[in-house]
Every structure is written in C-alpha cells, then in structure tokens.
Amino acid sequence: MSDEYIVLKEISKRFAGGVVALDKVTIDIRMGEVLALLGENGAGKSTLIKILYGVYSADEGSIYINGRRVDVHSPTEAIKYGIVMVSQHPQLIDTLSVVENLALGLRNFNAFTSIRKISSFILEKSREFGVKVDPWEKVWRLTYTQKQLVEILRAMLLKARVILLDEALTYLPLEEKKKFYKFIKEFTAKGGSTVVITHKIPEALDVADRIAVLRRGRLVGIVEGTSARIEDVRRMMFGESAAEITYEKLPASQPGGRVVIETQDLWVTGDFGEDAVRGVDLRVREGEVVGIAGIVGNGQRELTQALMGLRKASRGRILIDGRNVTNRGIHEVREVGVGYIPDSPLALGISIDNSMAENIAALYQRKSALINWSEVYKVASSLIETYRIVIPGADSLIKVLSGGNIMKAVVSKEINYCKKALIAHNPTRALDEVSAAMVRRSIKEKAINNGVAVLLVSEDLDEIYQVSDSIHVMNSGKLYGPFPPDEAERSKVEHLMVI
C-alpha cells in the first residue's frame, strides 16, 4: 500500500475576471503526516483546500483517495471521506450551546450519538487540552480559543482522517497554540493527516513533515520539513521579494511634545458586564508609536473600541488631540482624523459585499453629499499599487479577495486615512511576511514623516518590539509600563504578560 492517502492531480481553478487561482497543481497528502501549505497572500492556498473540501469545484483535474478517483461536490461528501476543514473563522451557531452545535453536525453521520455522550466527550477532551469548555454554554459566550477547540472536537467526532487547518491556529495565544500543535502531532502519530496553512514560517518548519509552496497558483515545490532552511522556503514563496522580510528594529521616532491620544483613569465594561479595562492611564505623543503587548482577551479589544468611541467608558476620560471625546461616539473621533484597524476586520474594518472603491468612499467621502469617484479611484489605485493588493480592479467586490488581501485593503485604507492618530489592533494578521513587513514599515513611516500618534496593540511581541518607541503590557484590564523597547528588559515584559 502506498502511503499517499489523497492525491490532488493537476487541479486548475479560474475565477471571474480571468483570475487564475490554481494552475495544474499536483499535491499528495500522506497518511500520518503534517503537510504545511505555504505561499504569499493570494497564492491559492485556501482555494486548493476548499476544492478538496467540496466548497468549490475544480475546473480541471481530479482527486484520488486511496488510489480511487472521487468527486467531492460538497463538504458533506468531503466529511464522508473523512476530510474536515477548520477555518480561521469558527463556523458555529452563536445562539446554540456547544453540545447542540456539535450534535447538529453529527446528525447526518452517526444519528445515534446521544447528547449526554457528546457532552462527556467535550468535558474529557477539554480537560485533555487544558482549555476549559462548558458543554452547555452558549457559543457566543466562548472565547476564540474555546470556539476553535470546539471546531477541532467536531472534527474528532466526525471521525476525521484528514484535518485541514486554514490559518485556524494563527490567532490562538501562544500557550494554547502549543496545545493544539501537540494534539495534531498525536493525531498524525495515530495515522491521521493534517494540512496546515499558516504565514508563520518558523512554526511551519517546526511542525511540518513536508512543506508545499504555492506561488501565483502554481506549485513551486515540496520540501522535507526537517531539512528545509527558512531562507530557501521564503525564497520559494516570495522570490526576490523575500529580501524585504525583516524583523529588525525600525528607526526610532522623534516624538513631539504634543499628546494626541490620552486616557485618564479609563474604565470600560466588557460584553459580559465585567470590568474589562480597569483604570488605564495612557499617553501617546505625536510622531510616537506606543505598543501594547499582551495575551488576547486582557482588555485590549475593549480599550481600542472605547478609544474609537465604539464602546462606552464607564469611568474616566478620553482625549484625542486635546479634545474630550469621552462617550461622544465614533463620529467625533473620526472627525479628528483617526485611522482604525480593528481586531475584527471583517465586521468593523470593511464591508465585503461592497467594492474596494465603495469601502474607501464610505470613509474618505463621509462628509460630502456627492461622491467624488475620480478622487476615490485615485486613492484606490495608489493603495492597490503601494500595498500590492491582488485584486482584479478597484470596483471588484471585496469578498472575491483572498483573506490576506482583504486585510491589506482594510489596513491600507486606514493607514492612508489617518492624519492625527492611528489605532491599530493586530494590523498584520493574515498577512504574509513580506506584506507584514511592509505594513509595519508604513505604520512607522506615518509616525516619523507625518507626526501621527500610533497606538499599536498586538499579540505578536516581536512586532511590538520592532515598531514601538515605548511599550506597555496589558494584563487583566490593567496597563503596565511604559518600558523602553530594548531587548534587555524583554523578559520583564514577557513576565508581566503572564502573571
């Protein structure tokens, strides 16, 4: 018996507007392996996975499972073959409980699994993972990590033999991510296969048995995980542009005297009525980048939303450019010229059913009754060019873009918009390394060249260190610091994140 479990043979897929997402790609997935699927934003990774999962159908090519040619026309069929996908965005029904969600998916497959059995399965597994999940909790109350765990549990209940992870682990906190990777290692040791898509190359090298690289819809090559060198993989992914990847500290700003973003004893209530932000005093001067490090869920989201006027402050004051904007609504904040890269880009950052031009117009032409489209298209094409957004045209709907390119559209429009301040929460999520490096550079340039005050909130400590002029740590709603960004004190910062 060959150990090639699944073979995707000469798969091609074209989308509207002449976009060639995949061009004769042949990849095999072997039993008991972790296969990392890498490539720059828009390379065709998600498309390939979706074809295997039956979401899209290939224009050409075929899929073999155990040497037999099969047609996978829907996820239901894929699941019958033991293929389960977990994506970046949990596909759960918010108003149902965890058990109900899992039971729903099982209905078609093994009808006799009882609710009680599922619930004890959840309890057992969540203990094993070390991520607490109450089976009877409604899904909307779960954290991101809990939701992703539920997705993994679903895959297990469905008796998956192949798990496809499309950036599913990317946004997990480091500790929990390790637990998930450990699970994957065990799963593959027992003969299962996993395909992992990620933009964190070191992580891929660490976990993968083999690495397949796509570029502009073509397979560049497949290399062994153990022997692959990071520079070679990057070169396969990006070609010449790989040289642009840098994690070196960017030049420091010369902050002016004027304080642009200021909070005084700020308290903000979270979604469950808890004090998510507890007495935060923060000052960001013009031309300065202040970083806030911390593990997800420590009040960063509530803090940035309150700063933008999207969430009420229960106590304290917020001053932007000297104006008291506390609880005045986002309108007042935007008025000052504040750019905002939100933590949930698909909800607050962009409207995917509208075109890139319309999304830009919504923000840039807020105040005029008539829209000056030639202005808008000028901005659009300059953003598309500068940020190398892979998009058929400025009038294409955002939803046809790849995940990373959607993020580039969000980020570029906000960075270019900000005049006084930029509030950026995980600005490089979903971006490939080249794009991420470019975004970090342009954030810094905005501060240095235009005197914009930047508040950078990120769960990626390297990113914080690369860009920031001073660093805070947020933990349990409290802000610590500021600390200078020299590596000497890094252990102190890391310690504050986890206490």
Binding site: V55, S57, H73, E335, P342, S351, A362, A369, L370
Partner: protein
Amino acid sequence: MRFIVVRRTKPHQYIKPLIIVLSLLTGMILVAILLVLIGAHPVTTLVTIAYSFITPQVVKDMLLLTMLGCALLISFKGAVWNVGAEGQLYVAIIPIVWITLYAVPWSASSPPHQQVLVILASITVAALFGAAWGAIAGALRAYVGIDEVPVTLIMNYVAYYLVNLLILGPFRGRYVYGYIRTDDLPDAYKLSINIVMQRTGNAFLDGFLEFIRAIVYYAYWVLAAILVALLTWVVFNYTSIGLRIKILGSNPEFLKAVGVDARKTILTALALSGSLVGIASAIYYLGDLTRLTYPIQSQTASYGYLAILVAWLSMLELPLIPLSAYVVSSLRNAGRNMQIFGLGGLESTLILLGSILLTYSTLRFLTEYEVRVVK
C-alpha cells in the same frame, strides 16, 4: 449520468433576467395545463394570458409600478423593509386634494401659469408627505428599535382610515350626488394627454394604435418613471446617502465604524423611499385616479403591495425593476382577463401568481449555484 449542484464561482451575466422570464413562462404553462384539466380550451387560455402581456392596459400599471419599485428599492437595499408604500401612496394624495380643490381651485378666470404651479406644488408636497409618513416608521426603527415591517404595514391601515375620515368629512364632494367621494380633479390639473384615433378596421393595426394612444396618454408617466429611475440610479451611484444605504444593507457595523450615524441612515432610507412613493402617488392621482372614493380600502388597486412584489422579483437590481414591473402588471391583467373571459375567478389568478412565484423562488438559487451534468 447525473446532475450535481455546485457553487457558482463565475457569475452568469444574464442569469437574473433569464430567471424572471423563465419563471413567467413556466407559470403560464402550468396554469394553462391546470385550466385545461378542469375543462377550459387550451388555446383560449394561452391566448388570454398571452394577450394580457400586450394590452395597452399594461402600460399604465408598468409605469406606476416601476416608480414604486424604485422607491422600495431605496429602502430594501439597506435591508430596511418598507412595506408601507400603500399607505404612503394615499397619505401623499391628501395634500393634493386639498390644494387642487380647496386651496387653489381652478376657475375660468385663473391665470394660465397657475396650472403648472399647482401641478408642481402637488408633486412636491406629495413627496414631502410620503417622506414624512415613511420617516415616522424610520424614526421608530432607528431610535426606539421597533421593527419597521409591522409598523409600515399598520401605517397602511392608518392611512386608509385617515383618508376615509377626510372623504367622509371635509373632503366630501359637493357635486357627487349619491356617492361618497371627493370632487373630481379639475381638468386643468390633469396630467394626461388625450388623443383620439380613427379606427382602421384592421384588428392588428387598431391594437397597435391603441398602444400608441396609451403611451401618449401616459406620456407624463413615462417621463416621470424615467426620472424616478434616473434619480434612484444617481442616489445609489453618486451620493453618499446611497452608498450609506448600500453599506447599511451589507455591513451596518462597518458603517458605524467609519463614523456614520447608522440610525440617521435608516431614517433617511425610509424617508427617501416614502418621498419617491409620494412622487409616484402625485403622478397617479393627477393622471389617472383624479378622486378618492369611500371606503378607500375596497377601492384601492393595491399598487403599494404589488410594488413589494416588483422589488422582490427584481432581486434588488435597479435595471431589472422595469422588467419585473412589466411582469407583475401583465399578471395583474392576466388575472383580470381570465375572469372576464370566464376562465375561472380569482382562484385562477392566484394560481397563476402562485406558480410563477414558486418557480421563481426555486430558480433563484441559480444566481448562486449552477447545475452540472457529470458522467
């Protein structure tokens, strides 16, 4: 060989109009089969239905429904469901009755420019009244959080009763012995062009000439329908409010995040929608209705409700509004003609409508999916 359904990744250019036409044909054939089964002559049946698509009668309904369809599109695009066109239509007529009969009545000594001014004023005021009626529901949805669907629906009845009260009271006609209705609109204020055509004796030619007559008669309506459609197009493509409404419909959270007041947008969408209904209403009253009869709820032609169908059938695409307006008005006429020709009563009309809508709802999935044959 078997059929499989896969998600469409390259949109089909003509699929939407095709679906509308296809459901129409299927519906007609289904009804014809049904009627034949219960004993009607197949040819008579098909001819009657087919005839309804080319009678001059259709011109008027189609023009009016195009305007109303555009009006509803403005709110529907924002996922704001204005089902209150019927009420907005009649409320907007109230000030026109007052202006044309009481405030500035026409007399032999009236200066000629009064005619134009009164007509223009009527249209303007009707737009304002329609807007206000829509804005009430808008304010309730935006600031109190009450769903606009029941509100706009209930306000249709409120409008009926308001109009009834006026007809019974202050607006009751002086020259309409025996009827409870308002006096007829003075001829000078009528918005229609009447031409007389000689009959030629050739049935085909006469039919054609009748069509021309209808189009000339409703020339102002053609103009108004074009203007309203143009206005809607401009709103959606060149104005901030149009863009805001579209984003309100696709991602209201993002709308808020750019600093736009989503509640104001909801209010404006309903007001704007109501104002276009008001304009259509003025054209309808000045060009065709010319008086209000008690009780209005049993006199109404229900254009306000048909318009919902038009907007829905168009899949919220402006260019398809005239096509679906045409389909809906033809169906309305087919129903009427089937009754006239003794092909069953109301039920056959309803069957016709039902089967078309059924095929339509079934075929609609083709916009998102395609069917492929595999060996």
